[in-house]
């Protein structure tokens, strides 16, 4: 049975490899994103040394690491699921002997692995050449970051699956998907680190799952959080991973009851 799921990873990886042209342009565009953010922050810093606990170099590193982490954890599971729902092919997938949601997550992982090897690593190398990025040297920071990156992927994919399955209840969930994309980018701390938000807003964001996707791993990797802090961050990620399984299962169950095919 596990073999079948591993095949989902493998097949998606190979599919991505077949369409790899996109990713060369993708690396350029991500580098441009990092560059623009870097210069925006440089203008904001002006002559100052520190903003919201970040030094200018830490901010550069944070921006680079966050965008590159996004290259890994980002996927379109929400869009895939809702188009499966809309064209009715989900009915066939429901009667197949595997768990639909789990299979989707595995496909997402295959895509993530592709992006990690062909997108994130070369992209990071380019970013390091162009901008004053300072990566940690301690092996524990790297090991910790990799583990956190996997949780970033899991939590982001869970949010995507939940958004995708919502198409069962609001048939055309284009708006919800767009809203989710924007919310995740802003509230995960990709665009602005959460410690820079006004006090009340950062308090709100600290009890939401989004910060576990970008902000927390990024903070660890830029050296803002050290020692015991790493375990706290990991704890928060594990908590959200576990907590998000519940709505996923509930939605999936309710969806199987509600299934009506709109076309196909």
């Amino acid at each position: 049975m596990l073999d079948a799921y591993l095949d989902f990873i493998r097949i998606r990886f190979l599919t991505m490899l077949a369409y790899r042209i996109n990713y060369y342009t993708g690396i350029l565009i991500y580098t441009l994103n990092i560059g623009v953010n870097y210069f925006t922050w440089k203008a904001i810093y002006g002559d100052g040394d520190s903003l919201g606990g970040f030094t200018a170099v830490q901010m550069t590193t944070y921006v680079a690491v966050s965008w590159m982490a996004r290259a890994f954890y980002f996927n379109n599971l929400d869009r895939e699921i809702s188009s499966d729902i809309r064209d009715g092919s989900i009915a066939i997938q429901f009667i197949r002997p595997y768990n639909y949601v789990f299979a989707k997550m595995m496909q997402g992982l295959g895509e993530g692995m592709f992006r990690f090897l062909l997108f994130m690593i070369p992209g990071m190398a380019i970013a390091m050449l162009l901008f004053p990025v300072q990566l940690p040297t301690a092996p524990s920071a790297w090991a910790g970051f990799l583990v956190m990156l996997i949780f970033s992927f899991l939590i982001n994919s869970q949010i995507n699956v939940i958004t995708g399955l919502s198409a069962f209840f609001i048939e055309n969930n284009e708006g919800v998907m767009r809203m989710k994309r924007v919310l995740v980018d802003l509230f995960s701390g990709l665009i602005v680190p959460i410690s820079l938000f006004p006090g009340w807003l950062s308090k709100v964001l600290e009890v939401l799952p989004f910060q576990a996707i970008t902000y927390l791993p990024g903070s660890v990797f830029t050296g803002r959080v050290q020692g015991v802090g790493i375990w706290n961050v990991l704890g928060i990620q594990v908590f959200w991973f576990a907590a998000l399984i519940i709505p996923m299962i509930l939605l999936y169950r309710a969806a199987r009851q509600r299934l009506f095919v709109q076309g196909g």
Binding site: T40, A43, I170, L196
Partner: protein
């Protein structure tokens, strides 16, 4: 011409019918549009909590630029929506259907995907411009409104040119995930004073993917920023050039199209 106007009416009626089927989604979409704008707005507010000026531009000026930016973006997202082009028209083969009809293919595709709720964002943009412009004490000259219309249309032409050219790439490589979503983040950077970026990025945002012409340059005209007036007046030219590039790329792509779906 009359024929095309008639088509617009028919497509609009069709749009209304599908809308009435998916009623709840209409409001979700309007809210999600505004929320997207709100997040960018939050970014500006957060930035100015930590600094007084961004490359010599004050908070109200940056907000004004953002207000302007929302207007052409709203018009563009209403009439030119190509997000799912590759999946819908190439992979599923709907392009065949479009090509067998007498009206221009690009025109049909635009019409099939019109999205009127997006226009609400433009309305909000005008309100933002009015408020921040009022606070800055900007005068309302005789040319303000006509210039606003011309610059908006030029900016829409730039958007259309860029995205049409990029979409026509899907005639060459039918990849499932396009570069359009990646581009999406970049267009936002045209709102910020481009002078804060280094030379390469300035050139890129001005001449290669000219998103600076959909935000900061045209808005500078109303803000009476003399250093950018020349660029602002260049906006219609850039609009014409990039629209032409987009259409050319599209027509070349269509020639290469071979039906793929069933």
């Amino acid at each position: 011409m009359l024929y095309y106007l008639g088509l617009i009416m028919e497509y609009f009626k069709n749009y209304m019918k599908t809308r009435l089927t998916y009623r709840a989604d209409f409001w979700v979409e309007v809210i999600s549009d505004l929320l997207f704008q709100a997040t960018n707005f939050i970014f500006i507010l957060v930035v100015f909590m930590h600094t007084d000026s961004l490359g010599g531009w004050s908070q109200n000026e940056v907000i004004f630029v953002y207000g302007f930016f929302m207007v052409p973006y709203a018009v563009f997202s209403c009439f030119v929506n190509m997000w799912n082009f590759s999946e819908r028209y190439i992979v599923k083969g709907e392009m065949d259907r479009v090509l067998t009809r007498p009206a221009h293919h690009l025109f049909q595709i635009f019409l099939e995907n019109i999205d009127p709720p997006a226009l609400i964002g433009g309305l909000v943009g005008i309100i933002i411009m009015a408020i921040s412009g009022g606070q800055l004490g900007l005068p309302l000259e005789w040319w303000t409104i006509p210039a606003l219309i011309i610059l908006t249309l030029s900016a829409v032409a730039i958007y259309t040119g860029i995205y049409t050219a990029l979409t026509s790439l899907s005639f060459y490589s039918d990849a499932p995930t396009g570069i359009l979503p990646l581009m999406f983040n970049i267009q936002n950077y045209g709102r910020y004073p481009v002078t804060i970026y280094n030379r390469t990025i300035q050139i890129l945002l001005t001449w290669v993917i000219p998103f600076a012409f959909v935000g900061i340059y045209p808005a500078a005209l109303f803000l009476q920023r003399e250093e950018m007036t020349g660029m602002a007046l260049l906006t219609p030219v850039m609009g014409a050039v990039f629209l032409a590039i987009g259409l050319l790329a599209w027509n070349m792509g269509v020639k290469r199209y071979k039906g793929a779906g069933s």
